[in-house]
Amino acid sequence: MTANEIKIKSGNSATAILGKIVRNQLFIPLVALLLLIAFNLITDPGFFKIALEPNSDGNMVLSGNLITMIDYASELVILAIGMTLVTSASGGQDISVGATIAIAGSTVLRIVKTQSPNISGAKFAGIIIVSFLLCVVVSAIFGAFNGALVAFFKIQPMVATLILFTAGRSIAAWINNNDNISITDKRFSYFGNFIPGISVPTPVFITILCLIIIAIILKVTNLRLYSQAVGINASSSRLNGINPKVIKLLTFVILGVCVAVCGFIKVSRTSSITYSVIANNIEMDAILAVALGGNNLGGGKFNLSASVLGAYVIQFLTTTLYKFKEIDSSSISAYKAVVVILLIIISSPFVRRWIDDMKNKREAARKGSADLAMAEAAVDSALNNIESETEKENV
């Protein structure tokens, strides 16, 4: 009996560890990422090749599929940070991020376009800093506008952000009088491409910086706890001394700052802007990243690293689809949709619960026999007790 018990116990702990891994929020996006990598490796064995080659500025830079994907995922990752916080606190999503990226990018170009390409390095740095700060302020104000509608007027986030979703690109066009701008200063493209002498794309550094900053904020402040509390139950968190309105507003402002960084990277990549299509549909990708990370889109608890991983999966998928020559232009969105639907279904709470249920049932069945033995023993001892008691009474 003892040997049997030990066997059951060890079996339990193994499944428990496995269960822990499977139940971990990072599991699904990680599996999706591995599947995509496996798929890419099968179709193209040289997939992981990374080369160090000089680019057109004579600068040694890293190139290869992986570098490209990590590079182009930057904007999405930064957006996913803000979107996760907004989702957690307000229980809804901001669908205006693509349009506000256009506004942010347009603001940057409005400042930079006035400068001649042959100004000195220090002056150029000054202009970049000024334009970036202004774009952060503008985006934060638009974020606050969304946040105010959600927090103070209690409008559903998707409806509140629909306003800027509709008007944002027109505002972006107005900022630059609808000019088709192209910046000729090579230095402006450093932020979306490579800084001379550094072989890793600049957006990667910017992303890492953003991740570090948000990690520190979550570590040293109560932002995580407060936004989760507000997302789970706003009125009870208010009773506990948290102001849900301020927290909601704050998350939208943080998303606004994320948007500013994205807008800055986007316009720097090509040194130009097309108001109607810049960051087209990026709001959907950002929301997908949050969902793929297994976060509840209804608000409450969140896992930021899962969202970030989700963002990488989405970009990985996009770049993979661009790689395939066989995929017809007009059907690329359909392919993406099919894969996304599969991933979202797998990571949905319903399927997760179903997997858990199945596992519990199996465990229960295995446990069943052991329980039966234990039950018999219990009945035996009870009977013994009764017998001994009756004996005592008789005495």
Partner: protein, 342 residues
Amino acid sequence: MKKFVKLLVSSALVAAMACGICACGGGTTPATQAPAPTDAPATEAPATEAPKTDALIKVGIINNDPNESGYRTANDRDMKATFTAENGYEASFFYSLKNEEQIAAAQKFIQDEVDYLLISAAGTSGWDGVLEQAQKAGIKVILFDRTIDADESLYEASIVSDMAKEGQQAVDWLASQGLSEYKIVHIQGVMGSSAQIGRSGALDEKVKAESTWSIVKQQTAEWSEETAQQIVQAVIDSGEKFNVIYAENDNMAKGAAAALDKANISHGVGKDVIIIGFDCNTWALEELLAGNWNYDGQCNPFQASYIDDIIKNGVKTKVVIMEEKGFDAKTITADDVKNYGI
């Protein structure tokens, strides 16, 4: 605390609005900016304040939203520059990307008894009724930029671009370069748009006909430079060789060039990769002038002079196809950039 938050919110809202207003003010033509599509049938005040005399020809102009693209912005500016009081016109403008709003505006213009109705239709169908009304009221209709599915007798003339011809010109130019092999990365616009169909069609036919022409990659970037950059980057990463980039507008060509720069692939006159763009943005023509690109096909947004000619000198042909140029980096001049850049 509550007061403070209220103050914060209200100041944020005010600032956001002020921002929008400043942005409007920055424009050179603030009074003529397009209204948002939602504040629909309100037509703008006549652009000119000149006293109404019999000499002025009243025109009602229905156009798409100038924010739609650089092409539309140039088109709108051209219209505003031509239909002025000095040229003998009293013009009213209406902008919308929605067909039904445009039709409602056309009905209003008919009630206002304009002499001419100039229409760049958002959609091709649903115009018959309103055009018949115009005909009964004795108002002449001229279509520009886009045609509609209506009987030819309902309008005086239509002035259009031939996108297929634009594509054909570019392909003919490419063929004249005499490369031993053409390996083309073809970046398309929004699938199904008339510009995409026209410009893709010419290239597709040529590739089918010639054995030395092949498509390395054909993909839509939906007019977006960053998507174009990603697509070209994916081709470069896959290690496939190519020597032509055929992008269906300038912005996508710019994105493609950025990807080439990143990977140290030289492009332009006498370099490894030929870059072809369309639309003739000023900055794109400057790239041509600098020899970084090879060819740019025009999509002429300047229909106003054609319309002016028809109104003043009468109709010569029902369908006027505008003359459209293609610029070669070897022969382009600074004057061309000034005259044809949009």
